[in-house]
Structure formats: structure tokens, C-alpha cells
């Protein structure tokens, strides 16, 4: 008995709605709208991330570029021998007795005199306000210069020194008349005088090499602060990191990739490496503090300790990159080498390693780039300290002298109160990013040139 024999007429199916492929049904419209929305979310997500990136880089650059320029005062100074060398015997020890205060007085008086001879009116400004134009850095430099060459005494030389941070900010547009009215450190009348001095060419803005070479300066002298010590510190650390991390990383990777038997011990090592790669960087700082400084008694703030910490931190990433590069060398190369009688060790060192070298190098450069930008662990080992002296040369134990590092300098300037240091901080970031971009470009070029598809 089948349905076919039954006489029952099947219930009439409703006539299909007249539809066309060319006109969308309501459901299809809804689905297509959902599709369009979904796609728009994706575009929006990308736009958000990229625009945040753009805004961030733009604000940093617009804040930081001005750090490379600096307002300076140029005026003739007669080095009064009676004031600077009271005994008159040009003896260095005697001349050392005149402190920077003596030089400050001299500079202040000479600046006032110069303004008078040039006919620049100092109306509404006290002598003290005029003196406030000269950075505290200038007398110190002049003193060093005179102590270096006492024959300058009595002569008239042209001194070119930094103007103070507020005046510098006015020339760069950071300080305006409105903010000056509220600021106890600067008055509107002083800004007017600055305008007049600028017209006369006494106050000029120049490219500031000192930003790259000077050591850090105290809170009152933002205009004199520079990246010199930080650059040296970072350079020492990066050199030491390369020397330590490259052999260690390559040796560990070779072992794990080519020799290690599959057993619990190697499993443990592998799990360990992937976990270490995800440990927060500050934990490495604690490790460095406890082991290298407290236990092994290495000096605080030294590039050596910084490099050790950064080495341990970048080692996992470098091992991961190196293993990938070694794995990319096809087995046929190894088989061929073994086939003509090379030992396992010879195969690896004569054939696999050279072929993996570009990949290893790329990975190492990228690992170094991330180490160069790392800040948190360095704070804990004392590299945030104020360091005003250059560390010694690399052969004179300079790696044990206190130093700072580029990213740490960014942080320590950012945490000072004077807004002039924010500009310096952003300027330091520009320098840091310039290094990172260079390293990444080198890595990309290496990869493009030597990458081989087997």
C-alpha cells in the first residue's frame, strides 16, 4: 500500500510566491545588510587601530621635533680678570675658587650692558628678570672654558649659551602670553623683551646637537638636558646583549632542533621556553635585582646588569626564531651531507647553520629591537637614577659605570614636572624610534635578499 494508490488528493501547496533572482526577497535583503554591516565592522576596526597609531605618532612627533632646536643667547662677554682670578696668578687651583655664582654675576652684568649698548629698552623688566634669560648651564660651561684656557681672561669673547626653558618654550610656541600671565616663573614683560632681543639677533634658535650629546640635567635646567649618557648606555647594553644572546640562542636552538632526543627533559625545556616568552618583562627586572645585584653584587645602574637582564628576556624569542630558521632548511641538505660522510656536527655547522643564518640574523635583529625599547626591568635595576657623568670607555670598565638607557630616559623625563621635559621626552622617543625603524628596515632587507624558498 503506497501513497500512489490512495485517492487522497494532496493538499494543494500554496502557489510559490512570484520571485525573481533580480529582486531581493525581504530575508535576502536582511542577510545582505548583515553582510555589509559585518564587513563595515572589520573596516572600522582597522581604521580605529590605524588612526590611533597615526594620532599617537603625530602627537609624539609634533611634541618632540622642537627638542632638536634650542633658543640660545649670543652676546659679547669681557672676561674680567679681577673677578674671575682675584689673585691674578692664573693658578688653576686659585681660579677654581671662583664658583659658577661668580660667572653668573659676570654674565648677567654683561648681558645688561650689551642690551644697553644695542639700545634695547628693558622697560618694565627688572635686572633680575633679564638675568633669568640665561640658563644656569651657561655659567658652568663658561667656567669650564676659562679653567681650560686661562689666557682668555681679560679678552672679550662671544658667548653663545642656552636661554632658559621658558624663553625657549616661548620661541617654540609652548609658552604663550596667556600662560605666562599665570606663571610665576616668567612675565609678559619678559616675553616682550624676548621679542625685542630676537629682532636684534641676540636671541636665536639653532639646531641643538647638545640634545644628542649632553648628559642629563637637573630639574631646573631642562634646556641643558641631553641623551648622551642614555645613548652610550643603550649602545653598551645592545653590544653586550648581542655578544651573549646570539651564541647562547643559536647553541640552544641547534641542540633542541638537531640533537635533542624526544624525552621528558627536552619537553620540559620546550614548555619552559614558550612560557618564559610570555612572562611579564618586569619579572625579569625582579630576577635581575635579586640575582645580579643582591646576590652577585654587580654594581647598580650598570649596563652590564641591564644587558644580562635583557639577554635572559630576549633569549626565548631568539630561540623560537632561530629554531624556525633551522627547521626551514630542508632535510635533503642534511641527508646529502650525511651521505658524503660528514658527521652530524659537521652537517649542522657546515651546511645547516650557514643556510639558516639570514633567518637567524633577522630574528636576532628583531629581538634586539624589542630589547632596545624595553623599560620596565631596567627601572628595577636602578637605571632610572640621575646620571650626569658619562660612563668610561668600553675598555676601561665602562660597562660597570652607572648609565641610563634611551627608553628609561623617556620615562624619567616624562615624570618630571616642568613641561619642557615632556618635549625632551618626546624628542627622545623620536631618537628611539629612529633606531627601531633602522633595525627593522635592516631586518626586512635581509629577509628580502636572502630568504630562500626551498
Amino acid at each position: 500500500m503506497t501513497d500512489a494508490t490512495s485517492s487522497q488528493v494532496p493538499a494543494a501547496t500554496p502557489a510559490p510566491a512570484r520571485s525573481s533572482l533580480l529582486t531581493q526577497s525581504a530575508l535576502m535583503k536582511k542577510r545582505n545588510a548583515a553582510e555589509a554591516r559585518f564587513k563595515a565592522y572589520g573596516v572600522a576596526a582597522i581604521c580605529v587601530s590605524l588612526s590611533v597609531l597615526a594620532i599617537m605618532l603625530w602627537t609624539i612627533f609634533s611634541d618632540g621635533v622642537s627638542a632638536f632646536k634650542q633658543a640660545s643667547l649670543t652676546f659679547p662677554v669681557t672676561l674680567d680678570a679681577d673677578a674671575l682670578d682675584p689673585k691674578g696668578n692664573r693658578d688653576r687651583a686659585e681660579m677654581m675658587r671662583v664658583t659658577t655664582i661668580g660667572y653668573t654675576k659676570l654674565l648677567n652684568a654683561q648681558l645688561l650692558a650689551h642690551l644697553e649698548t644695542r639700545g634695547i629698552s628693558t622697560e618694565g623688566v627688572t635686572d633680575k628678570d633679564v638675568a633669568a634669560f640665561i640658563s644656569r648651564d651657561t655659567p658652568a660651561r663658561l667656567r669650564d672654558m676659562v679653567l681650560e684656557s686661562p689666557e682668555l681672561l681679560g679678552q672679550t669673547i662671544t658667548v653663545s649659551g642656552f636661554a632658559t626653558g621658558r624663553i625657549d618654550g616661548y620661541l617654540k610656541g609652548r609658552v604663550t602670553r596667556d600662560t605666562a600671565a599665570l606663571d610665576t616663573n616668567i612675565s609678559v614683560a619678559q616675553l616682550d623683551l624676548a621679542d625685542r632681543m630676537q629682532d636684534e639677533g641676540i636671541l636665536t634658535t639653532k639646531f641643538n646637537w647638545g640634545f644628542l650629546t649632553n648628559p642629563d640635567a637637573s630639574d631646573q635646567r631642562p634646556e641643558a638636558a641631553g641623551l648622551g649618557v642614555a645613548l652610550i648606555g643603550s649602545a653598551y647594553m645592545m653590544a653586550l646583549v648581542v655578544v651573549m644572546v646570539l651564541p647562547l640562542g643559536v647553541a640552544a636552538s641547534i641542540y633542541l632542533e638537531e640533537f635533542a632526543p624526544r624525552n621528558r627533559w627536552t619537553d620540559l625545556i620546550e614548555v619552559n621556553i614558550s612560557n618564559l616568552a610570555a612572562v611579564p618583562s618586569i619579572v625579569y627586572g625582579i630576577l635581575g635585582l635579586a640575582i645580579f645585584i643582591n646576590f652577585a653584587k654587580f654594581p647598580q645602574s650598570s649596563p652590564l646588569v641591564g644587558a644580562l637582564v635583557l639577554t635572559l628576556m630576549t633569549l626565548p624569542t631568539i630561540i623560537i626564531a632561530t629554531r624556525a630558521a633551522i627547521r626551514a632548511v630542508p632535510p635533503s641538505i642534511r641527508d646529502a651531507a650525511l651521505g658524503v660522510g660528514a658527521s652530524k656536527m659537521q652537517t649542522v655547522f657546515h651546511h645547516v647553520l650557514p643556510l639558516a643564518a639570514p633567518g637567524i640574523l633577522t630574528g636576532t635583529i628583531l629581538g634586539l629591537a624589542s630589547a632596545l625599547g624595553e623599560t620596565a626591568p631596567l627601572l628595577l635595576i636602578g637605571m632610572v637614577a640621575f646620571v650626569a657623568n658619562y660612563p668610561a670607555g668600553p675598555l676601561d670598565g665602562g660597562v660597570l659605570d652607572p648609565a641610563t638607557a634611551l627608553p628609561v630616559q623617556v620615562y624619567s623625563w616624562a615624570s618630571r614636572s616642568d613641561p619642557a621635559f615632556i618635549e625632551r621626552s618626546a624628542g627622545a622617543i623620536i631618537v628611539l624610534l629612529a633606531f627601531l625603524v633602522t633595525m627593522n628596515i635592516i631586518a626586512i632587507i635581509l629577509r628580502r635578499r636572502f630568504e630562500r624558498r626551498w
Binding site: 548583515a34 619552559n272 611579564p280 627608553p407 627601531l436
Partner: protein
């Protein structure tokens, strides 16, 4: 003989081993290299290794052991009860070492003759001043016991240095002699050298383990010291964080943990949708051209140091949120807030999530997509109902890894979140995190015997445990729920 000089001498001996080993091997077969077991270079390396490595090992052990031995010898100079107490002993030994080194410096600078240095007594006047004159700063005036101990330290150290040099050189020469004696045409130099190299490789690979052990040990020992000074229960469950260096600090973890988790939550709310949609768009919608431009640009974010994000939070995001959201709505008046830090960490984590998710989505086989399209599904339906479920374990893993990064992030919160430990729901309030407090308790001059400093190690331990737990959990999720497509 200084250590540096000793190492140079060892280097010279190694070079000698290199040359002599090779020469001896060649001589033993009358220059016919085909009769050698290994290539001549291996005999050379064997000579160098035997001269250098054992001596270097002895030297290293000696350098580690000598201070410990000397310290034990010096215990006679001090009352036993002072030496029992760990922290006192460390301080005493530091004093002794400083005085001894100071005397050496003074002799080197010519301020004292060697005889003076040996006979100097406390009665002669201020040892501190005389050492200060050559640039050795001592904390307090030297006690007779310390001075005696320092003299004995100098004597022991100089004897030790002499013995060290002699023993090291004997070992080096013995190694060299052994290598030369054993070298002949039959000797399997290559196997020996390769075994040594393999040993070095194994040693390098254990550095990872040593690092973990070092992290755990350093934090664990200090945490135990901390718990002996401050009740650990109060640390774990305390609701107030109020360190004061006069004592009576309240060091409760909960406010810090709350700040950390709150900020991470905000960060994840920003990063997860943005990162996922970025990954989906790049993997499923974007043309290869767009992908090849946008993907590297997104990854640029990951390459920027976090301190840059920190400055961005401090200078731009914080004031912006304060002036446009917090102040108009009356929620707060501070530039550094949970929102500031959370948003910026969120942006930092976008590329992390998007690149991990991108890889995972690309790993879903094309046949699943084709099947879904064949049934008439649109692209977005395919993504939502086929691809995401298939990729879910991987995506959950990626999100957990990103969360662990957000929790461990330091610079952005140090510069953007504030320093006040609060238990509050208002996202525009300044709050603080575990990492911020680790930094603030450990920077600057710190004494390592107060609970206020040691708490940083306990905080570090907490952070380590949390992030490690998240990582392991993430790996477990990925392994357990991964679909195997073959």
C-alpha cells in the same frame, strides 16, 4: 695575579695547545694526513680545549667558593650571636669587605704604604677619614673587630689569589700535557671535540630552565622572608594598601589586584572586538593588496616600545578623557585613570590578538568555507557559524595570552593609571596595579630588610603565578579543543 691576567694566560695556553696538538698529530703520522683518524684541525681544537676548559672550570669554582670560605674563617672575629643572625652577618661582611678593599685602594693610590696598611689600627685616628681621602666612603667609623677582620680578609684574599693562580695554571698545564700525550694518529679527536661541543650546546639549552629556576627561587626566598615579617594572610586578603616607612604599614593585595583586573578588563573590551574584526577582515575580506599593506601597519603597533604608549597615555589620552568625559560627567578630575590606561593597553594588544587570530583563521581548511558557501551562506554567515566555531579554541587561547600581557604590562600603567590604591567602580578614578607598586617599592635606594620593600617580591610572585597560570591554561585550551583537520 688578577683574574683578567689569568684568563689571558689561559688563552695563550689554549693557543699553544692548538698549535702543539696539530703539530704532534701530524708528526705522529709523518705528515700523511690520510693516516689520521680525524682531520688535523680536530687535534688542534682538542689541544686547545683540554688546556682551557678544565682550568676555566676550576677558576670559576674557585671564584665562587673563595668568598664563602673566607667568610667562614672570619667568624672568629665576631661574637657568635652577631654571626647567627643572617642580615647582621651580611652587613658585617659588607663592612669588612669595604674596609679591606678601601685599604687596597689606599695602597694603590699611594696614600698608605703596604706596611702602614697592615699595621693600621683604630687607635691611629680615623680610618674612615683616611680612606675617605682616597675616595672610599665608609658608612660608620670602623670598629676594632671589623678592622682586624678586614686585615685577615686581606691576608686570606691575597693567599687565595696566589693559590688560585697556581692551581689554575697547574690544571691548564696538566690538561695540555694530557692532550699531547694522548694525541697520535689513532686517537679519535673528532669524537672527543664533538662531544665537548654537544655538551656546550646542552648547557646553553638549559639556560631556559635556569632562568625559570632563578625567577622562582629569587622571588620565593624573598617572599618567605616577607612572610616572616608581615602576616601573609593580611597580604593576600587585606583591603587597604598603605605602606609607610615608619612601620605599621598595611600591605593588602586586594586593591592592587582589583586595579590590575579592572584595567585589564577595559583593555580586553577594547582589544578583543577590534582585534578579532581586524583579523576577520584581513583573512576573509581583504584583497591581497590591502592585506599586504594593512597587516604590516597593524604590526607596527606591536613594535613600538610600551614607554611610547605610556607617554601617549600621560600627555594625550589622559587629559583628553579628563576634559571631554570625566569632568563634564562629574566622574573625576584626574588625567590618570583606569580608562586611560585600559584604552591604551587595549590598543597595544590589538595587533597581538589580530595576528594570532589571523593565523588561526587561516588554519581553518578551505573546504569548510566552500561547503558553507555551497549551501548558500553569505560570507559573514560563514565566518560566524563555521569559521569562528572551528577557530574558537585558538581564539580563546589568543585572548587569554593577551589578557596575561595586559596584566603584566608595566610602563603604560605606571604613567597612565595613577598611584593611589583604591577599591572603586568608577573607571575615571586613578587606580593602581601590581606592576606599578612593584616599580614604586623597588626603585631608588632601598634596604632589603623591610616589609615595605620585600612586599614587591611577594607582588612579583603573585604576578608571575597569575600570568603563568593564564599561559598554561591558554595552551591547555588550545591543545584540548583543537580540531584536527587532515
Amino acid at each position: 695575579m688578577s683574574v683578567f691576567l689569568l684568563i689571558i694566560v689561559l688563552g695563550v695556553l689554549a693557543i699553544a695547545g692548538f698549535v702543539l696538538g696539530r703539530g704532534r698529530a701530524l708528526a705522529s703520522v709523518e705528515g700523511n694526513t690520510r693516516r689520521l683518524h680525524s682531520l688535523p684541525g680536530y687535534y688542534a681544537w682538542h689541544g686547545a680545549i683540554m688546556a682551557f676548559l678544565p682550568a676555566m672550570a676550576v677558576l670559576t669554582l674557585w671564584l665562587i667558593a673563595q668568598p664563602l670560605v673566607i667568610e667562614r674563617q672570619l667568624s672568629d672575629y665576631f661574637p657568635a650571636e652577631q654571626f647567627e643572625n643572617d642580615s647582621q652577618r651580611i652587613l658585617l661582611m659588607a663592612d669588612v669587605r669595604r674596609v679591606a678593599e678601601g685599604l687596597d685602594v689606599a695602597v694603590a693610590a699611594g696614600a698608605l704604604t703596604p706596611q702602614d696598611a697592615e699595621t693600621i689600627t683604630v687607635a691611629d685616628g680615623s680610618v674612615r677619614e683616611r680612606l675617605g681621602a682616597v675616595g672610599v666612603a665608609l658608612g660608620a667609623e670602623v670598629t676594632p673587630e671589623v678592622l682586624d677582620a678586614a686585615q685577615s680578609y686581606r691576608a686570606l684574599a691575597s693567599t687565595g689569589a696566589l693559590a688560585r693562580a697556581i692551581v689554575t695554571l697547574i690544571v691548564a698545564l696538566a690538561g695540555l700535557a694530557y692532550a699531547l700525550r694522548i694525541t697520535n694518529g689513532e686517537f679519535r679527536a673528532r669524537n672527543r671535540v664533538e662531544a665537548v661541543i654537544q655538551g656546550v650546546l646542552i648547557l646553553a639549552s638549559t639556560i631556559a630552565i635556569l632562568t625559570t629556576v632563578g625567577i622562582v627561587m629569587s622571588m620565593l626566598s624573598e617572599t618567605i622572608r616577607f612572610s616572616s615579617m608581615y602576616p601573609f594572610k593580611d597580604f593576600l586578603f587585606g583591603l587597604t594598601w598603605q605602606p609607610s616607612f615608619q612601620g605599621n604599614s598595611e600591605l593588602g593585595l586586594i586593591p592592587l589586584l582589583w586595579g590590575t583586573l579592572y584595567i585589564s578588563l577595559v583593555a580586553m573590551i577594547v582589544a578583543v572586538p577590534t582585534g578579532l574584526f581586524t583579523a576577520i577582515y584581513l583573512a576573509e575580506y581583504a584583497s591581497p593588496r590591502v592585506r599586504s599593506i594593512v597587516k604590516p601597519l597593524i604590526e607596527v603597533i606591536a613594535g613600538i616600545p610600551t614607554v611610547v604608549f605610556g607617554l601617549f597615555a600621560l600627555v594625550t589620552v589622559g587629559p583628553f578623557l579628563r576634559d571631554w568625559f570625566a569632568v563634564p560627567t562629574g566622574l573625576g578630575s584626574s588625567g590618570s585613570s583606569v580608562m586611560t590606561a585600559g584604552l591604551v593597553i587595549g590598543v597595544l594588544n590589538i595587533p597581538f590578538i589580530s595576528s594570532l587570530a589571523d593565523d588561526i583563521i587561516n588554519a581553518v581548511p578551505q573546504s569548510l568555507r566552500d561547503g558553507s558557501y555551497g549551501l548558500g551562506a553569505t560570507k559573514s554567515e560563514t565566518v560566524r557559524q563555521v569559521i569562528l566555531p572551528a577557530a574558537l579554541p585558538g581564539i580563546v587561547g589568543a585572548i587569554l595570552l593577551a589578557a596575561s600581557r595586559a596584566i603584566g604590562e608595566t610602563m603604560i600603567v605606571t604613567m597612565g593609571a595613577g598611584a593611589a590604591a583604591k577599591l572603586d567602580m568608577n573607571p575615571f578614578e586613578a587606580m593602581t596595579t601590581i606592576t606599578v607598586k612593584i616599580v614604586s617599592q623597588l626603585t631608588g635606594d632601598t634596604e632589603f630588610n623591610s616589609p615595605e620593600t620585600l612586599v614587591a617580591f611577594a607582588l612579583g610572585m603573585t604576578l608571575f603565578v597569575i600570568t603563568l597560570g593564564l599561559n598554561i591554561f591558554a595552551l591547555w585550551v588550545v591543545r584540548k579543543y583543537r580540531e584536527q583537520y587532515e
